[in-house]
Amino acid sequence: MSQDFNSILSEYGALLSRVATSYEANHHLRQELLQEISLAVWQSLRTFKGDSSLKTYILRVAHNRAISHVAYHIKTPKSASYCEMTQASPSPTASSETTMAQQQQVTTLLNEVRKLPIQTRQIVTLSMEGLSYQDIAEVCGIKVTNVGVILNRSKKVLLEAIKHEQ
């Protein structure tokens, strides 16, 4: 089980980190959330029956755990300024203006994603992780048509915000 989970962490660790990032701006709380998500995935693997792809299953469990986190941490500040490490710092090689601009876009995207209502946020991030409309509908428990409507609307909102920042 540990061996399997180690390989799952290697393969899906970055994906879990992105789920945590979409729900928590504060670096320390995000690390805590990432641990909780990883733990939830580890425990849930016992009940994985292969009804969906492993990636879809992991994303479902991860998002569910992250939703609990949203309620639990209401008493802590939501602002990113709570911690100096809340945003990804530029890498040492990132000196060109283009790279800086790209990083700014990523930061804007993250901030805008965190402002979305929970269901919309889940749908948008699942889509950006490459899940189909059908898979997203199954994970969230909503109609495929609703996935399409919410996704189209929110993508426009996100792109507008990114353009506005430029």
């Binding site: 962490l9 990083q103 889940q122 889509s127 950006m128 994970v139 109609k143």
Partner: protein, 203 residues
Amino acid sequence: MNSKNETHDETDILSSMWQQQQTEVVGLGSVKQKWRKVQYKQRLYFVFDLIGVLFMLGAFYIAFDKLGVFAKTWMAILTFFAGVTAVYFSYLRRFALSWSNLITESFIEQLKKQLMSNIKIAKFNRDLSLWMVLAIVIFYAGMFYVDDVSLAVVAKKGVISLAILAAFTPLFWIWADRRAKRFSKELAALEQALLEPDPETLL
């Protein structure tokens, strides 16, 4: 056709940006450590629930020969009540250890139910601290009127018991009340975060 291509382009642009973000990886060791902490916390809650029952049983056993019919009956009722409460609390907390692989809509419903259970447990604990004062008064009053224990003995034991309760009840009441308020805030926060525009109106 153009609109469809545009949608795919938007998805590609956003996905590409999304995948560029810095990520962190968590180690298996820290996940296992977290799991031990969660288990420890849940067992601790269970032990706390159990302590009440064991205390009642212990007191009942030690004082059995010295108690009259009323005192025995009253203690048996309270012990039974403490046992039922411990089982009920464990039942309400069952969701905390079951990691959910439900579809998100069902998970959210379960999460709301769990928060409502937590509020219920906290409020029950808060009110219980006050009911215990009444239970002690009835216990000693019954001993005096039904079991013919002398007023001096009842008054002495009653005052000691009530003094102990007076020392702990306010602290316990405040603790339980804060927990009830915290869970109520969490539930409100969850419901607020779930507010969505109706997709049907966006069509």
